[in-house]
Symmetry: C2
Subunit: 322 residues, 2 copies
DNA sequence: TCTGGGGATGAAACCGGTTACAAAGAAGTC
DNA sequence: GACTTCTTTGTAACCGGTTTCATCCCCAGA
């Protein structure tokens, strides 16, 4: 037999209302009754039924997560975000359900949805609007609440770091597919180079697959084709790890001859990797905050989470002129 | 203003009860009233509130998923299972919530939990039992409902395939950490070798990391240490992919000189890879079936899902004696 | 002493459904 | 024609909480 609020009320000789007030602490309750009710609750091991609570409070305490088909769920980055979200939700006593690709027939048991930016985002946002469910996007998108890392600032940070270490011959390894974040990182990077008054800056960009293997190939092929950068900026840490592998195979010293700088800050991927680190816990925190704040209201807020440089051991001063 | 069942009842000039009966189809309703009510529902775009329904039906239509910290969420295998589960849940109109590591303070908004087998499983199962929530495990465990692939049978299948292709000098690449599935695959494999009456069978086992890179190292090192198998059985496809890479780098022909057989059937990982394939959709289906069947009852059922051989292009007859 | 204000509490409505039960007709049986 | 039985439907209780409103009580101030 399940213990209900009524049972608590009876045993504590108070009304359901009082017990409810004790639970929620919204209204004042005499200290002695409060103690008493709490004691009874503890004695009986009472836990309020979340479903009943949802019904009367008209909020489901549930956040849906919608992951696009294009999103690479296998990437360490996605994984970290996902787990950070889980932790965040736990702190907020909110549960998270993952929505299937096609939500047109899903009953809305969530009060807000977090969307991972990817192709076809517009269609799904439209669908949500129809159903009156607010959405928060992880990534950039006009006209909707989003939270994203400072990709462009990160690109600039990378350029500044490399330049200040004396590097003048730079290579940017990035992904071939057209995604906003890659574009922003590249834009930030090249804008600094273009705006710099330092003499003798050379820079090239090559594009490939966003994986360790992809990074390996990019670096190896670029080197074999005669590129001789002293500083390599990789659009993701996975690419950077691959690049490091290629340089090792080519017998190139890191950071003696070449410095390698990644993006994302996934230190566990390769200890010592220098990287423009995203603040993943902060992104998760912001995303959930925005989402919870959006329930019921109709506000649009965009948040950019700052990035920071992890120096690591793959980044060093440019070698003296050869 | 939200459309409720009462509103439908009013507009259709019937009682709430009748509308409910139309929705659930449990009890008989005159055909003409049914049509009428459905028409009103459609006209107003009515959707029953899932929370209210959960409250009165005492079932949450929600399945919790609990992933151990030890589980490798980055593995393609995990990813496939996860997505298969999502699809399966969608079909059954059930939602899935992922539970955080520590559920001791999570309010139970689910009627059953699916647990991914991993270290410390006993403790968490105990926790669930206390809360009266049934659990179904993906993997093997005594005394609880589980569903798992036929690891041992798969090991046997691998051995039989290689033997029947004439291979006598075999190498098994597997993971160093002690997990049940790896043990079972190895046991199945070696039991066939041990039980075979064929002459001249040699077999070795080496253990390493369960990743592409791990497989690469295992294969390369084994070869450099003088192992000269003609058939290699890898405990996972990722190891197999790594092994293929190493063999390519060593200049060994596949399948001319060496055949490579993986396990899991992740064809997208490496087209043409021969593998003992798990039936992942079937596992997901069974897991969800068992889980839904376990709600309210207290039955224990264990299901083993058969595996099948994918021949691929990395498996061939043993070379003529050198 | 009378009055007013504020804190503590209980009663009851409400959230949006499901379902046991009863009642009203319709149809079938003897 | 009276009695059964079956189908269809309405009524009201219920699921387990929250919340509004009214009431009661106590104490300060005039």
């Amino acid at each position: 037999m399940k213990i209900t609020i009524g049972e608590i009320a009876r045993q504590a000789s108070v009304s359901k209302g009082t017990v409810s007030r004790v639970i929620n602490g919204k209204s004042t309750v005499a200290e002695t009754t409060r103690k008493n009710v709490l004691a009874v609750m503890k004695r009986l091991g009472y836990e309020p039924d979340p479903v009943a609570r949802e019904l009367s409070m008209r909020t489901k305490h549930t956040l849906g997560i919608w992951v696009g088909a294009g999103e690479n769920r296998l990437s360490p980055y996605f994984n970290l975000i996902w787990r950070a979200l889980l932790r965040e939700m736990q702190v907020r006593a909110t549960q998270v359900v993952e929505l299937p690709e096609d939500i047109s027939h899903v009953r809305t048991r969530f009060d807000v949805v977090l969307v991972f930016n990817s192709d076809g985002v517009d269609g799904r946002l439209e669908l949500l609007r129809e159903r009156g469910v607010p959405a928060v996007l992880i990534g950039h998108h006009p006209g909707i609440s989003c939270v994203a890392p400072d990709d462009m600032g990160g690109g600039r940070l990378a350029a500044h770091s490399l330049l200040s270490l004396g590097h003048r011959n730079l290579l940017h390894l990035t992904v071939a597919c057209e995604v906003q974040w890659a574009q922003d990182r590249a834009d930030g990077f090249t804008s600094v180079l273009a705006g710099s008054s330092l003499p003798g800056i050379q820079a090239a960009t090559v594009k490939g697959e966003a994986s360790v293997l992809g990074g390996y190939r990019l670096m190896r092929d670029a080197w074999l084709q005669g590129h001789r950068p002293t500083g390599v900026f990789c659009a993701t840490d996975e690419i950077a790890v691959g690049a490091l592998g290629a340089l090792a195979d080519l017998g190139v010293q890191v950071p003696g001859q070449v410095s390698v700088l990644g993006f994302d800050g996934l230190v566990e991927l390769h200890p010592g990797l220098a990287s423009v680190a995203q603040n993943i816990p902060a992104i998760a925190h912001q995303a959930v905050s925005l989402a919870l704040a959006a329930i019921g209201k109709d506000t649009v807020r965009q948040t950019i989470v700052p990035v920071a440089l992890i120096e690591g051991t793959t980044l060093g001063p440019a070698p003296k002129v050869s």
